[in-house]
Every structure is written in C-alpha cells, then in structure tokens.
Subunit: 163 residues, 2 copies
Amino acid sequence: MPTKKHEQFVNAVQEAADQPLNQEMLLSLVGYNCRRAYLSIMPLFHERMSELDLRTVDFSVLSLLHANPNITQKRLSNAINVSPPNLAILLDRLEARGLLLRQRNPLDKRSQTLILTAEGERMAVEAEDKVSALEADATSALSNAERAQLLKLLQKIFQPSRG
Amino acid sequence: MPTKKHEQFVNAVQEAADQPLNQEMLLSLVGYNCRRAYLSIMPLFHERMSELDLRTVDFSVLSLLHANPNITQKRLSNAINVSPPNLAILLDRLEARGLLLRQRNPLDKRSQTLILTAEGERMAVEAEDKVSALEADATSALSNAERAQLLKLLQKIFQPSRG
DNA sequence: TATTGTTATACTCTATAACTATA
DNA sequence: TATAGTTATAGAGTATAACAATA
C-alpha cells in the first residue's frame, strides 16, 4: 500500500525523467567549458595521430624542438609543464625511436640540449600538418574570425600579462 | 682542440639560449590553448575547494544533482562523461559523507535515482558560490562581454548542433 | 650550496572485464 | 536478450623523494 510520501517520490522521479538536464551552472564556467571543448577535440587527435604513434605531449615536444633546436631539457620542461622525471622517460622513448638526440651542453655541462634527427624533423612536419587539419575539422563550427577570437581570449587567461 | 663542427654546435646552443621560445605552432591550436587555460584555472580551484574536500568531478555531481534532483546514475554518468564503474565509487564516497542518497527507482528497479541530502544541498550552494568567485578571479583578464563570448565559442565546439 | 637531470616509486585518473539484479 | 549498476583490476598520467654530476 503506497504511502503519500512514496507517491510524491514516484512523481518526482517521473518528472526528473521527463525533463532535459539542467546544466546551466556548469556551462557558465570557463574551466568546465575549456575541459569539454578539449575533450571533444582529443578523440580526433588520437585517431589521426595513432598512425604516427604520438601522444599530445610527444607532439608538443617535437613541435617545440622543430621551432627551437638546441634548447635545454630545463627550458622544454618549463614550456610544456612536464616535470623533469616525467620528461626524462618521455625523451628516452623519443630518442630510442631515433627522433631526437640529447647532447651535453658545452656551455654548462649540467644540462643537455635537444635536437631533432632528420627523421624527427620529417615526423614533426608530418605531425604538424596532420594536427592542423584535425584541428580545423574539430572546430569546423567556428568561422576563421571566431577561431582567432577564441585563441585570443584563451591566451588572455593563461598569459594575462600579454593583454 | 675544437673542431669546426664543435664550434658551430656551441654557437647554435648559445643562440638557442639567447632567444625567447617560439611557441607559434602550439599557440595556434585550439586544443592546446583550451588545455593551457584549463590548467591555469585548476590550481585556484584546488586551493579554494580543498576546504570543502571537493574535486572538480565531485563538484560537477553536486551541482548537477542540485539542479536536477532524482535523476538516475545513468543520466548523470552520460552528462559528466564518467564511466559507470568510476561513478559508482565516486558516489560511494559522497554518500558516505552524507551528501547524497541513492534510491531504487520505483519506475525501473534496475536503476537508482540520486538526491542530495540537506547537508548536500548546503554543500552544493556553498561550492557553487566559491567556484563562481574563483572563476571570476581566474578569468579577471577578461571583460564580462569577452567571458560570455568565450563561453559561446567553446560551446560551439562541443555542442555544434546548437549553433 | 644550488642546479640539471635521472631513477625509483607512489598516487590519481581512466578504462576494461566479469558479475548481479531487473527488464 | 539487453540494461543499470557494482566489483575487481589494469593501465596511463602525474607527483615526490633520493641520488649523481656539475656549477
């Protein structure tokens, strides 16, 4: 025999099931929306880059070394926000694949400088092409102007000094 | 005795050290910028929410249940993109803390509906206030109009159907 | 004494397989 | 037979502590 309280519960559950989800609060947060946008782009990255066997962080390293040959591990570590221990094993893997070289820094023998091999350069160029294309596909709902505006606004958040 | 090759290497290393890092490629990518912006907001989240002992995903759950009482675990799982096994233990913790209740769904006894306790409601309201404030601080480089524009552009990426 | 980089290790997050109960 | 949820477990990603070599 259903009590009144039980009836109210059944009605509340029915009503909840009938209504679309209210996500107003979460959708008002920049952090949440950044994460959702990022997570919506990543599957395409993994699909298209699995052929090159590169993760996002591997791509970041190749791309930065392509544009900045002979920088030290320290500067790379700071730039991509990967801790020295984790960068060490990441570089072990890329070096083992013949994509880059570590060389003792002649100006300060504590540090090591990094440079892509010829194969690493080829891989970097190919990866950059693939990523540019995949990005365009993942953000095809945006016009070029909107995309540029988005980049500007995001950079204001993590580079506030640059206005 | 330094070879010519070695001299060239020393010069290249010196030049690399003297120049600012070129991050043009990475900064042209929406995914990379989303991640950087997200990672710049998170430390503030952890600082301010450690008092409430809530992670981002815990906050998402409390906030969604606050706005959508009596929804099922299935709908919650879909909304926040957390797999059923991982959601189960997350809900175990919040239930053990007295923040929510799981109730067998009277309309389909396979599923369970979720509702915040009085304490859970208080926690949700307090957390939402804190998060709103922290978001404003983390994105203070943006005007209100820019912030609104940013949310719109990000949502276009992961909700392309909504234009 | 401080810095760069490495090794070892622990912790969190996320993903998968197998199971129970209900439809 | 299919679905909601749970348990157990494995893997990836990230963080910390201790160490060697150089400054």
